[in-house]
């Protein structure tokens, strides 16, 4: 079980969180014309990375905030956590 540092609440166990996928995906702006390819990339196409990966988690049983976590998908090492409004550098 992972030990995740919620930027709002501190170190908490994984069972308080739910996984939300790749954090680098940006939703196209509302009303903007997008090609099929762009839309598919947003909805479906994901890189199944081995290694460092920025991903979204929600602190479901805690502060309910969505947060960003940089995790190694192979080793589960967590390098960094950010609040929803903080940009991935």
């Amino acid at each position: 079980m992972l030990h995740i540092k919620c930027p709002h609440c501190g170190m908490r166990s994984q069972n308080e969180f739910s996984y939300g996928g790749d954090a680098s995906v940006k939703r196209p702006e509302l009303g903007k014309e997008v090609t099929d390819q762009e839309w598919d990339d947003f909805v479906y196409n994901r890189k199944s990375l081995r290694g460092k990966h920025w991903e979204l988690w929600q602190h479901l049983s805690g502060c309910r905030q969505w947060i960003k976590i940089e995790r190694d998908t192979a080793t589960h090492e967590i390098f960094n956590t950010l609040k929803a409004n903080e940009e991935i550098s």
Binding site: G20, W39, F42, V43, Y44, H76, A84
Partner: protein, 998 residues
């Protein structure tokens, strides 16, 4: 029977407490502090089971967790449990155990024929033989293999015992209370660190209990006891015996199973049987010691052949002789320690040492005691069937290839020592890259992956002085880094007998003309010849060899067999052992009961149970409940002898003719506030929301980004910037997360707050032609006329002094209202509705009637919004705004979603107007078409229409819009039904929707 193998003046058992127990129906006696194994050996019982494959007689091999043989079926307090190691099971009064894997009895076992057929049962036999004919598998092969295989029978009864889970955090977790565990725990505890010390056995001290050493002028045992009693007094230390740390998981989380009651005749009141600890440790010190490994020789599985360290443990801890005429077969000094203990207790052993001329304090002591030692000698084979009777021994050449003349010596046990294997399982599970240590012929932990340090014998350090020194230092250093304390401990003076190097010898060659089985893996009957076959057949990777031959795959996970297996593979392959590598160590280290893993989450505790504030009223009024997610909802209110079908029909009919009331508390409710609330709704729902006036509700559908319907419900504008959203019961939590996702990550510029208010409001739906009359009586001061409170209108009202929200919304398709009050007033509201409703013949209705009403109205619900349908499929395309963008809109232009023959919801009626249509059945054009019969669609929901008094179903069918009026067949292979049906509109009742507006 007398305990004829029990000595009088040695051991740590409590001789004042005699215990009786039964093994295979026979009564024996032992003492408190015995294990089942030690008590049986004390009674001279060595035949305990039959082996897995050849059904060869099995005895005891070890004295603890490494035991491959002595697995029994345990009977305790009316329960039975398989896969219990007799070497771990502590004796209690009235214990009962039986042998496994033998029939009709352990003494006469029919399966033992396999032993004589063994030439036909080589590695991979099952894979090779039971492949064909294919039809034989189900009826002949599988039942036969199932009966032959397996080590015990699981109970099919509900387990009455209670198991608990516990979460704990600590600075240092120390796994094992031998010398390294005690020393490091002591040093860390003195520095004020929060320490958990876990010991698998009932007694603390590990090898200190059985070795002849002196620490600070105390015996090893005395020193261990004094350290333990000091640690027990310290508030920052938790000490647990009978506790096995069996798994090392990510982020330094370890799991430990504590056997609280297994050693007692029955579990004490309010106590759990076992407790599973989830421990998050800042540092982990692995002090799990080492396990002696055997030397491989002919018939080395005969009962009476066992590890020399186990023989010593039985003697010193339990005062039990494993034999009165022991033969010690060793390649190192450890065998001498066992021999010396025998000699001191009046038994004369013979030592066979594979070494030519070892020189050490221990060897000298054995010589001085006059023990018969034969150097450069090996055991070629054990003789005897159910117990060792003699051993064939021979001199071995210096290159260890040639055997001299084989002689026979009488003996009743053979104690083997092939040196020591560090227990590296936890370190390896943590991700530690292990390395091969040449001088001990075994793997030790290498580079740490997580915060783990391995100490003492587990790290390949086999001298006490070195172990204690490094453990004190490590415990001190790690705790100092955490607590910043620096309490130095003086290092005690250590006296131990010096050993010399071991002989790298592990397998005795076969004498000419003999074909003895030489076993590597005792639990799974894997012999040297099986590995040779596997390699001949081309298996190379050690992982493949393991799976093909089942070497190391049994419940003991090869604790005594893995290294010898590796030695063999590397010898045949002409590689060094580290080049072959070891198989992956995975948790659990030792079997853990399913009960402990599940913990308290069984039966009704397997998920939380949510009840509405009106639950007790429902109970009192004969409600039959149904699980709706985690909620308990009334399915119908039983009157007299009526069944579900009759009851729900009565309730639904009463809604259509009079008025009914339904508990709708379980609907998800989300309170939405903020100046941009309307904008949020406008983006989330598919229809337009910006112009919804205050005091009005609107039905909305929300999609996922892939265009699939996520949920539906009504949202009401309570005031300018305040909305009340309802969701389906099942999707409530997902919708809240969905809204939070968009507000926090996608559109943080929207000034909106969302919060779940599901628990805060109790809800009652009143539906039926007389519902307005009832409402007027409930709220005499409010104008609830069709003009005062039109369809989709909202108002606040005073329900006999209680503040209420009134929504004119309808799921049943009748004139209907939903009343919400604060949860605490829910029961008051409900009772008032029932009381006032009497004159209108009100009846409560449950979820079954609710479904009937919505199905015949063609209202979609969870069975249509099943995560596979788009708005069009549910005839909800009218709710798709063309003027604005919304979540998932872009996906609706996908080719499959706009195809001409896209699936759509329809109604289905059986032609005979009698046969009920099973939900989930398929719709086909031709019922006699060859299989696979092309499927046109599926039945999503079925009911008995109370309006038309015949069965009616909803279905999602390909090209649904052109199917109305067509005759098709419903097929349910599961229920063996073929029903001719007609496709009709999904709106079977009141297609124009006049009633809700009346």
């Amino acid at each position: 029977m007398t305990q004829s193998f029990r000595l009088e003046n040695i051991g740590m058992i409590n001789r004042n407490k005699k215990l009786s127990f039964k093994f295979n129906g026979k009564v024996y006696y032992g003492y408190e502090g015995d294990t089942l194994a030690s008590a049986l050996i004390a009674n001279g019982v060595h035949l305990i089971g039959r082996s897995f494959k050849y059904h060869r007689p099995r005895g005891f091999f070890g004295a603890g967790v490494d035991e491959p043989y002595a697995i029994v079926q345990l009977y305790r307090n009316g329960e039975t449990e398989p896969n219990i190691k007799a070497t771990e099971q502590e004796l209690f009064e009235g214990l009962e155990a039986k042998s496994v894997n033998c029939w009709p009895s352990v003494n006469f076992d029919v399966g033992a024929i396999n032993n004589f057929l063994r030439i036909f049962l080589p590695a991979g036999f099952y894979y090779k033989t039971f492949m064909w004919p294919k039809s034989f598998w189900y009826k002949i092969y599988e039942p036969f293999i199932r009966k032959a295989a397996g080590l015990g029978v699981a109970s099919i009864k509900h387990d009455k015992e209670r198991y608990e889970h516990k979460y704990e955090y600590c600075d240092l977790l120390i796994t094992g209370s031998g010398p390294s565990g005690l020393a490091s725990a002591y040093a860390a505890a003195k520095n004020g660190a929060k320490v958990i010390l876990a010991e698998d056995k009932s007694r603390f001290g590990g090898t200190l209990l059985t070795s002849e050493v002196n620490i600070g002028n105390q015996s090893g045992k005395e020193w261990a006891e004094s350290v333990i009693s000091e640690l027990k007094e310290m508030p920052n230390v938790t000490i647990k015996n009978r506790s096995q740390v069996f798994g090392y998981y990510d982020h330094n989380m370890l799991v430990m199973s504590e056997r609280i009651s297994d050693h007692l005749p029955q579990t004490k009141k309010f106590h759990p049987k076992q407790r599973l600890w989830y421990i998050r440790a800042k540092e982990v010190l692995i002090s799990s010691g080492s396990i002696e490994r055997p030397i491989v020789f002919g018939n080395n599985d005969t009962p009476g052949v066992m590890l020399s360290s186990a023989a010593k443990e039985y003697l010193k801890i339990y005062g039990v002789l494993v034999g009165k005429n022991p033969l010690i077969f060793t390649n190192n000094d450890s065998g001498y320690e066992t021999a010396i203990e025998f000699q001191k207790n009046g038994i004369n052993p013979i030592i066979l040492d594979t070494r030519k001329d070892p020189k050490s304090e221990l060897v000298d002591e054995a010589k001085n005691l006059g023990i018969n030692i034969k150097f450069s000698y090996v055991v070629v084979a054990a003789q005897g069937y159910k117990k060792v009777k003699s051993a064939d021994i021979a001199k071995i050449s210096e290159d260890k290839e040639q055997l001299g003349t084989v002689e026979s010596v009488k003996c009743d046990c053979i104690c083997v020592s092939g040196f020591w294997t560090p227990t590296i399982h936890l370190a390896s599970q943590s991700g530690n890259k292990t390395k091969f240590k040449e001088d001990i012929d075994a793997f030790v932990p290498g580079t740490s992956k997580q915060n783990e340090t391995t100490l003492g014998a587990a790290n390949g350090t086999y001298t006490l002085e070195e172990t204690l020194k490094s453990s004190f230092e490590t415990g001190h250093k790690l705790s100092k880094e955490i607590t910043k304390n620096d309490n130095k401990i003086s290092f005690p003076n250590v006296i131990e007998k010096k050993s010399t190097v071991h002989d790298k010898f592990w397998c005795v060659p076969l004498p000419k003309g003999k074909n003895y089985k030489r076993f590597l893996d005792f639990q799974n009957d894997v012999a040297v010849s099986d590995i040779e076959i596997a390699l001949k057949e081309g298996y190379r990777s050690i992982e493949h060899v393991k799976r093909y031959t089942t070497l190391g795959m049994a419940t003991d996970q090869g604790k005594t067999s893995n290294l010898n297996g590796l030695q063999l593979v590397s010898k045949i392959e002409n590689k060094v052992v580290p080049a072959v590598g070891h198989t992956t160590f995975r948790p659990p280290y030792t079997p853990v009961s399913i009960g402990a893993i599940v913990g308290r989450e069984v039966g009704k505790h397997s998920k939380p149970t949510r009840k509405s504030p009106m639950h007790s009223w429902h109970e009192k009024n004969n409600a039959v409940f149904v699980d709706a997610g985690v909620w308990l909802r009334p399915r119908y209110y039983k009157q007299g002898d009526e069944n579900l079908f009759e009851g729900s029909k009565r309730e639904a009919k009463n809604v259509r003719t009079n008025v009914g009331v339904c508990d709708v508390t379980t609907l998800g409710k989300i309170d939405i506030k903020g100046p941009d609330a309307a904008e949020l709704l406008n983006r989330v729902y598919t229809n337009a929301w910006l112009k919804l006036p205050v005091g009005k509700a609107r039905y909305g559908v929300m999609l996922r980004e892939d265009g699939i319907v996520m949920d539906d419900g009504t949202t009401t504008r309570i005031s300018e910037n305040h909305y009340h959203m309802t969701t389906t019961t099942a999707q409530a939590a997902n919708v809240l997360s969905h809204l939070e996702y968009y507000l926090q990550l996608v559109w943080p510029e929207l000034n909106v707050n969302v919060v779940s208010t599901t628990e805060q409001w109790a809800g009652a739906a009143i539906a039926g032609p007389k519902s307005r009359n009832l409402l007027q009586k409930l709220f005499p001061k409010s104008d609830v006329s069709n003009e005062g409170l039109p369809f989709m209108g909202y108002m606040e009202g005073d329900l006999f002094g209680v503040k209420a929200r009134i929504f004119r919304i309808s799921f049943s398709g009748e004139l209907a209202y939903e009343i919400n009050v604060e949860s605490d007033n829910g029961n008051f509201m409900w009772e008032k509705i029932i009381e006032v409703g009497q004159e209108f013949k009100i009846q409560p209705y449950g979820t079954e009637a609710l479904s009937t009403l919505r199905i015949e109205m063609g209202h979609v619900a969870g069975s249509e919004l099943d995560g596979r349908t788009i708005p069009y499929d549910n005839s909800l395309e009218g709710l798709l705004s063309k003027k604005k963008d919304f979540i998932g809109k872009r996906s609706l232009t996908r080719k499959a979603f706009i195809s001409e023959d896209r699936q759509k919801i329809v109604g289905v009626i059986p032609l005979d107007k009698k046969t009920s249509i099973p939900e989930g059945s398929h719709l086909v054009k031709d019922s006699s078409a060859p299989l696979p019969n092309p499927k046109l669609g599926y039945i999503s929901a079925s009911c008995w229409s109370v309006e038309h008094d015949n069965p009616f179903s909803l279905a999602i069918v390909k090209d649904g819009k052109n199917m109305i009026g067509k005759k098709l067949f419903v097929m349910s292979p599961l229920k063996n039904k073929v029903i001719p049906v007609e496709i009709v509109s999904s709106h079977y009742v009141d297609p124009k929707g006049e009633r809700v507006r009346s």
